[in-house]
Symmetry: C2
Subunit: 545 residues, 2 copies
């Protein structure tokens, strides 16, 4: 049996584009003499379509294109993901399904059984669960189909889901010869291993090979990493598609292959995820040009590198926007960086504007001492300037704040938080350094001085982050344990050997910054739990953890 | 049987505060010689606690306080809402339950059966559904308990939910003598009738009276309107608690009462909802003072009235921030308004700042014609000034954009969209006028000239909204049908007699502004579907409706 796996980068709701991609893949599959062409979850509309699923016309559009896809599928088995109306009409209005086309005829659907409703997923908002596992016969083989989550319950201790049903066990009662999995499984840092382990467990239970097709590409905040794969009935990994780009696998189940290892550089993956996040956010909206403010610090330097890789050096414009508090070194370091990256840098002092604001406000503020207000003013003037360039030249501003800062609220709303995309919103300060070193290992583009200098916002004389916040290692420890791992203050205090007061203080900071994050630009999600999509917290609440 | 209904305004996660309220209510109930004290859904933690429910320590806190509540509940039946751990541990980790305390002893739980996972609700993210309906016996009466949604499936054609189960029908097999309903049912415009109809249908099916306790108060974007009620076994409304304030009902089921009508002024309710939304957003966070920019237009005038009512005149500061394009009339009208409301108005010209920005940007923009950039600059300078006052004096900025503008993206990100709370985010332009007239019917505070003038942003000479947008009646029609009612472009075109091109153009505008709304301040939700909580749309998508 020859299986062609189409790992595609789809655009939500762009049926013309997606169907064209599907036709191309089917044609390639035929050329490769495939028996089966396998697509990812919700291929037709792209994943996740969110509330577009509530429009009956959106579901009807998918019904409408299916006959065309069938027509293109002669002499093949094609398995393709789509949302379809729930004909019974009870509870939710749709199923998340795989359509099974055999020799040009739609022979049936397999509906997703387990509907993730946690983390970034809210599939119970839209879908009814499928009732049963089905076996389709083709060329004498019994073929089972699972959709993403359906297989994950078989991952054992790895998982934090505890469904009553396990579709893999249900299939084990009448084991198939081949299992196909259609997925839209988002990337997060160091996730890959858990997939391989779960798939191996499934293959061993069913004693059949598994072919897994994952979506690739970024849709808003979610990064789909691809890495579609083929696993033997013994649970050995035999083939893997590329990560973070469109790719195809041609699998021949009769062919004897040696097991391979899943080679993984976790920082290369993280970098690729961020690059893809920027690239697709721009290209899928029809934008080419990005703007960002360079401060001379590590965060904006990293964003410049990511943007250059994603959009090309000709499409990046950096602005250096100094005030009286900006150091000469910051400008020199920025100059060196843009020279290395061959991108544009404009120098535009905002000190006159800053003074103009101080003067305008003086009659009202004269009785008060300078405080955070004057710091925020500088950051917000920068935001205005960036947005003016964005409006004037049709480019998107990239914001450069990292997850540690977002956690602490160590950011200025409407200031450095301005932007269409928060590239590092979900990247901790420690990961920022790791990524910078990863980039410099290939080619030294980020000046060593930027890597070495102490973090500072340069919004008042001699300012250092450390004056306001604990060391970033402490911030990151509490953030990871509290936000990503959902540990309590007491448990974090014990685990990290930090005083309970300190931990509670930092958790308070996290909650108190909720109102800021609610207005943050969408960020690229690269951890198990980002601050935006997949995390829902009240602004007004007073829980003492 | 005497039932005391405690319609409380709770604070999410503030167990000390909530438990104190609960003790007070139990004491009052005892004083009123009540047999039963009834609370609302999730009373202990407040509704909706969102992802706080994922912290085991949050659930444990509720377990911990229960013995104290039992102790306070001697010689009573107390029914109180809380989240509790799912002891089975399968699927979701918690139940949304009513604890039943009889004479100081916790006798059991009724778990919510129907878990809304649509609109603003995502209860399947957190909760396992309860398996069965239970009957509790007290003083010789069979008492059934339903939690909010459990009863709504019995509303027939009114509802958009289509659950397989109907807990009311399940109860009908062994009908109770009394039905208690604990709710956290959010307000939306003109909702009240649907509740009364559903309750009447339920009473008639079960042939028993219903006592309904609803949460009151605002938690972030949701407004809980209270209006707890008592309905006879014939489906006649006998008692109703006040709306939008804490209140109690003392019900005696032996007492003969005459049916009453549900008196309703829809604009009074809408106004009360917005006032409560502002009031609780401030008080529950410990803020007192609000700031807003007055433009001389109807939206900011309305927000000033709402804020004055919510926070008191001494806590409102308005800023009039003119540029060269602001008219004398706008200032005069603003002066008249603040005089009528007895609130402060500061006049602070931003024209020098505007010129300063133009000068700073001139070297870079000289080859380009003035466009939206220069308009946005003015709006963003205003945003900075407001935020500077907010930082300096510890007040919260109220943003004043309405739902029609938010739909069209006729707002400036980081400009007029600055603020801690978007008071009118979910109020259409038509409703803005209705509310202004409602306010003026009581006391003429909004100058007639503000009501009469043509909408304008005053960001360039002679500007009128109508130059950029169709009439607001058209905008509102398409917004309501597309956003709130989920109709397709074709259906809207037919229903409203508008050209398909026009409708599709406006729908495109709605989708294209998604990126702006993602960074909007949280708004007070007052319709069936607001743009923020309860509506989840991708930014990057290309669906052609």
């Amino acid at each position: 049996m020859r299986i062609f796996v189409a790992q595609l980068n789809l655009i939500i709701g762009d049926f013309t584009y997606n169907v064209k991609k599907i036709f191309q893949a089917i044609a390639k599959g035929k050329k490769q003499k495939a028996d089966i062409v396998l697509f990812s979850e919700l291929t037709l509309c792209g994943y996740p379509p969110e509330d577009l699923l509530f429009y009956p016309s959106f579901l009807e559009k998918m019904e409408e294109v299916m006959p065309k896809i069938c027509k293109a599928s002669s002499d093949l088995m094609v398995v393709i993901g789509l949302a379809r109306k729930n004909p019974e009409g009870k509870e939710k209005g749709a199923f998340n399904s795989a359509a099974v086309i055999i020799d040009g005829r739609l022979v049936g659907y397999k509906d997703k059984t387990l509907l993730p409703t946690y983390d970034v997923f809210d599939e119970r908002r839209y879908f009814e669960p499928g009732k049963e596992q089905k076996i389709f016969e083709y060329k004498g083989k019994k073929i089972a189909i699972l959709i993403c989550e359906d297989m994950w319950q078989h991952g054992g201790d790895l998982l934090f889901t505890h469904y009553r049903r396990d579709p893999v066990k249900e299939l084990a009662e009448n084991p198939p010869d081949l299992l196909l999995n259609l997925s839209a499984s988002p990337y997060y840092f160091q996730k890959r291993d858990t997939r391989v382990i779960t798939f191996a467990a499934t293959a061993k239970t069913l004693k059949c090979p598994i072919v897994y097709c994952n979506q690739v590409g970024a849709n808003d905040q979610l990064i789909f990493d691809g890495y579609s794969l083929y696993m033997s009935s013994k649970g050995e990994l035999l083939q893997v598609a590329k990560g973070f780009v469109e790719d195809y696998l041609i699998i021949d189940t009769e062919q004897g292959l040696s097991p391979i290892a899943f080679e993984q550089d976790i920082y290369e993956d993280l970098f690729s995820a961020l690059v893809l996040g920027v690239k697709d956010y721009f290209s899928k909206q029809g934008f080419k040009k990005a703007l960002l403010g360079l401060s001379g610090g590590i965060d904006s330097a990293l964003v410049a590198c990511i943007a250059e890789k994603a959009l090309g050096k000709e499409n990046i414009t950096c602005l250096f926007l100094p005030t009286r508090y900006s150091s000469k070194e910051s400008y020199e370091d920025s100059l060196l960086l843009v020279k290395n990256l061959e991108i544009k840098l404009l120098y535009l002092s905002i000190d006159t504007l800053f003074q103009s604001f101080l003067d305008t406000l003086a009659p009202h503020f004269s009785k008060n001492k300078p405080d955070i207000t004057e710091e925020n003013l500088q950051s917000r003037i920068r935001g205005i300037i960036l947005m003016a360039f964005s409006n004037k030249f049709g480019s998107i501003v990239l914001s450069t704040g990292n997850k540690s800062e977002m956690a602490m609220g160590y950011t200025t709303l409407y200031g450095d938080m301005c932007g269409g995309l928060g590239v590092l919103n979900d990247v901790s300060k420690a990961q920022v350094y790791q990524l910078a070193r990863f980039i410099n290992r290939r080619r030294k583009v980020i000046p060593q001085t930027i890597l070495d200098k102490e973090p500072t916002a340069e919004l008042k004389p001699g300012q250092r982050d450390i004056d306001t916040l604990p060391e970033y290692t402490t911030v990151d420890a509490v953030q990871e344990d509290y936000v990503e791992e959902l540990l309590s203050a007491t448990d974090i205090s014990k685990k990290r050997g930090l005083s309970l007061d300190l931990v509670q203080g930092l958790i308070n900071k996290i909650h108190n910054a909720e109102y800021k994050r609610r207005q943050a630009p969408p960020g690229i999600r690269v951890t198990k739990r980002a601050f935006s999509k997949g995390r829902i917290f009240p602004i007004v609440q007073r829980w003492k953890h």
